[in-house]
Symmetry: C2
Subunit: 501 residues, 2 copies
């Protein structure tokens, strides 16, 4: 009834395979594919998002110049429901965890989310250690601290309770606890680090977000500040993804209105940037091993579904969530939107708003603190979402010509009647809508000037943006390594345009 | 810099938690929630899909009657791209596999998909054993055979190359190889089996679909025929999900037109049934442990996104894929649609079309074989997709009143101008559109009569449907266990209505 055969490739098979390889491993040469800034008619319809490689036999070329031909979609499991935090003890038991590292920060440690978590663990008799020293906007030093603590206790599972900073820090604790001999820079994104792929499997990590913003519970990304290089960077790999994200809308009720606003602006930009990123089949180089295919791979037909839905929800619910602290429906929808946007950008990537945000929040020359934020030790703070959204009108005016239809679809999702809009105005129309959307939230800077920047700061902002290669390669319309001078000029123009909107 | 604290719940915390538990663990009592057939104004908008539990304190009630309050979304990683099959050798190496069980069937064993797979493994020097005896529409006996083979060889990873039958069989080989002492019925869905949750972690499984239909590469479901009970059943649990689905559009080019049609009809019904299933917050009972939350949990805001997109793509591309064997764009889009629908129904479930399909294909009184199918040993065959779609007009006419807006949205996705349609006609309008859509594909039965059924077969079809509890509980408008006689009458009516469309 059963048989075991071992197929040895015959000469004929090899010939077929060779033909197949040649047919599908060469970059297309039709002009609309050769430049990331000219792919509009390939993005208009989902039908065009699956790339058709040109089927002619051509001379083999430099593999490092080959464009991508596949995309990969990965996400943490996501559980969503009011009150489901308390299930986490059973989850840890189901995973076989005997000693759990609970990671949080000093604020969240006092909140109900943390109480539910601890009660869940105690009810199942699971031993745990709490690390509550993660910091908002993690720095290399705070991350290394957390890693030392984790290595010393060597837990068999991790549980992050907090916002993106907590969840990102926990991912790094897991990574380096499972790779105790690795040097810190081994996995950090190139060019600041070595960008090695993660080959070991990590321990279970359950993430319980208490903000509706980063979507970190679904992604394989962890961001931190390398003070030594004056730059934000991070580690990004599918293996870093949490095992499970527990999205409990009761946990975001504790967010002040200002945090609703800035974390919602982060969601807005996650959705917009992943939706407008270059398509995956324009990214270079094609990986020679699938483990090297980046999580940030460009827009693809699956990320598109998530990004556009997140954008629509944000348009509808963010203003309500900011204005009315008792609008629990809007808050729940924003938590869901943050998670959907997380799956979207976690598989497509972000681009200019995020690349430009890192020097904005890092340099902060006027020691600006966002109204409504309570900052420990009087440290100044431009919240991540604010630093991202402040350049959005400028960015999407710039990227508009790369794909007018996508920019119009985004404007429509934000409530613009686009029936009479010309394609050449797509970027402007979206930019104007974004400027009004951000202003209408209230309390938001209307450009970099309101954050204390002026023309004299632009050059340093450009210098702080250039190392963000991982996301800049996904920016449509931006010149790449072939013409770095032009890229600098473009970034300079973007920052200048973002001084006021 | 670091601290370890151990939080013991105080009396105050306990009081808060008790309040929280009481507030969120009782089923809502507003009349529009109490009956699955009357939730329309809760499904019209995504805003209403997050269920708001009623916040009053009431007397505790029987937990088995509590409705669900959370949903969980899980999917295999999905890689998509023409030619990406050949990456599987590197994937297996990255997973650390040393001895791979390659599972396929006698037809697929001859195709290029299998050649690419074997070449990929050999290039990386990975040892493998091939099992090529899986059968179309697996039976208990064929499944047990495959499991014996797998147990004897004890591989450290599995690789399925084929359609849904192959992938489903491979999931079962993995499950019972990792649980060698389990009795076969332990994990089989109740009431035919014991329906135990899967607590052990399984070995890596990579699935490479060669049809665009089942979406099995993304789901935790495996379906087979229990000859002894004259019923189709299966095993469904998130843990069964493949590690990775490799969706290579080159692999579906070998499908004959008749297979494009029937597998595409399966996609159509996956999308329609998951989109119209009862919402997750109407399902009972609420699980007492998250590991018992079924994969088939009812419609939810994330499954909805997948199901509706899959429906739109199927409407657009299935007719083209069936009519023109060289329309590779349509074929690629159908492979993507099958995968998207897989994520949708894999997290929401299917209902009546699938429940009723099992006795249709199982009983086949006229020994019907679908034109265009080449069946081994002259066995009759009603392909799964055909048996599912043949009742679709009847089913959605019946379910229409449960949620007119969703049925109208489905009709619109299939190209109907719904601007003038009244809500009470929603089911009829969708049914009429489906009847025409199926007929226009060509070569499809226009009702059960064309498959050789008549009125005298209806009673046995009803009897064969009743054991499909797992999906029947998700059917809107259907009477449940409270009134089994009414449920039988409703099913009888559905089969009679499906004799001709």
């Amino acid at each position: 009834m059963v048989s075991a055969i071992r197929v040895a490739p015959t000469a004929a098979t090899r010939a077929i395979n060779l033909l197949r390889t040649v047919q599908y491993t060469h970059p297309p040469t039709c002009p609309c594919h050769s430049n990331p800034s000219h792919h509009h008619h390939h993005q208009n319809e989902s039908s065009s998002l699956i790339h058709h490689a040109r089927r002619t036999l051509t001379t083999p070329i430099d593999p490092s110049r080959q464009k991508e031909y596949a995309f990969e979609m990965a996400s943490s499991n996501i559980r969503f429901g009011p009150g489901c935090t308390k299930e986490v003890g059973m989850d840890m038991k189901n995973l076989g965890a005997k000693k759990v590292m609970v990671v949080t920060d000093a604020n969240v440690a006092k909140l109900d989310a943390m109480k539910q978590t601890i009660e869940g663990l105690e009810k199942e008799g699971i031993a745990y250690i709490v690390y509550d020293k993660t910091r908002v906007e993690p720095k290399e030093s705070s991350v290394k601290d957390a890693i030392s603590f984790s290595k010393a206790h060597d837990p068999d599972a991790f549980l992050a309770v907090g916002g993106g900073s907590v969840i990102d820090t926990t991912k790094l604790m897991n990574l380096y606890t499972c790779n105790p001999d690795a040097s810190f820079l081994d996995f950090v994104n190139a060019p600041l680090g070595k960008g090695l792929p993660i080959t070991s499997s990590l321990r279970p990590l359950i993430a319980i977000p208490t903000t509706a913003g980063t979507g970190s519970e679904t992604t394989g990304t962890a961001i931190f500040d390398m003070e030594s290089k004056r730059a934000k960077t991070g580690i990004a790999h599918r293996s870093l993804r949490p095992t499970l994200g527990i999205c409990d809308p009761l946990n975001t009720r504790t967010m002040p209105s200002a945090v609703h606003a800035s974390s919602g602006l982060d969601v807005l930009c996650h959705a917009l940037e992943s939706w407008t990123a270059i398509p995956y089949y324009e990214r270079m180089p094609r990986p020679t091993n699938p483990i090297s295919r980046p999580a940030y791979q460009g827009a693809n037909p699956i990320s598109d579904i998530f990004s556009l839905q997140a954008l629509r929800s944000t348009a509808k619910y963010l203003p309500r969530a900011v204005k009315d602290p008792d609008d629990h429906e809007a808050q729940e929808q924003m938590l869901l939107a943050a998670t959907l946007a997380g799956v979207g950008f976690g598989n497509a990537g972000v681009h200019l708003c995020h690349a430009m945000s890192y020097p904005i929040s890092g340099q902060n020359p006027a020691r600006y603190t966002q109204p409504g934020y309570v900052v420990p030790q009087g440290q100044p703070l431009i919240p991540h979402g604010v630093s991202v959204a402040v350049t959005a009108p400028s960015v999407f005016r710039f990227t508009g010509p790369s794909n007018p239809d996508r920019h119009l679809a985004a404007a429509e999702a934000l409530g613009v009647d686009i029936s009479q809009v010309k394609k050449e105005d797509a970027g402007h129309v979206l930019a104007d809508r974004l400027a009004r959307f951000i202003s209408d939230l209230g309390g938001q800077p209307k450009g970099l000037k309101d954050l204390g920047f002026d023309k004299t700061h632009v050059e340093e902002l450009v210098q702080g943006t250039l190392p963000q290669k991982r996301v800049l390669v996904l920016a449509p319309n931006l010149s790449g390594d072939e013409d770095v001078q032009r890229e600098k000029d473009q970034l300079r123009g973007l920052f200048e345009d973002a001084l006021e909107f």
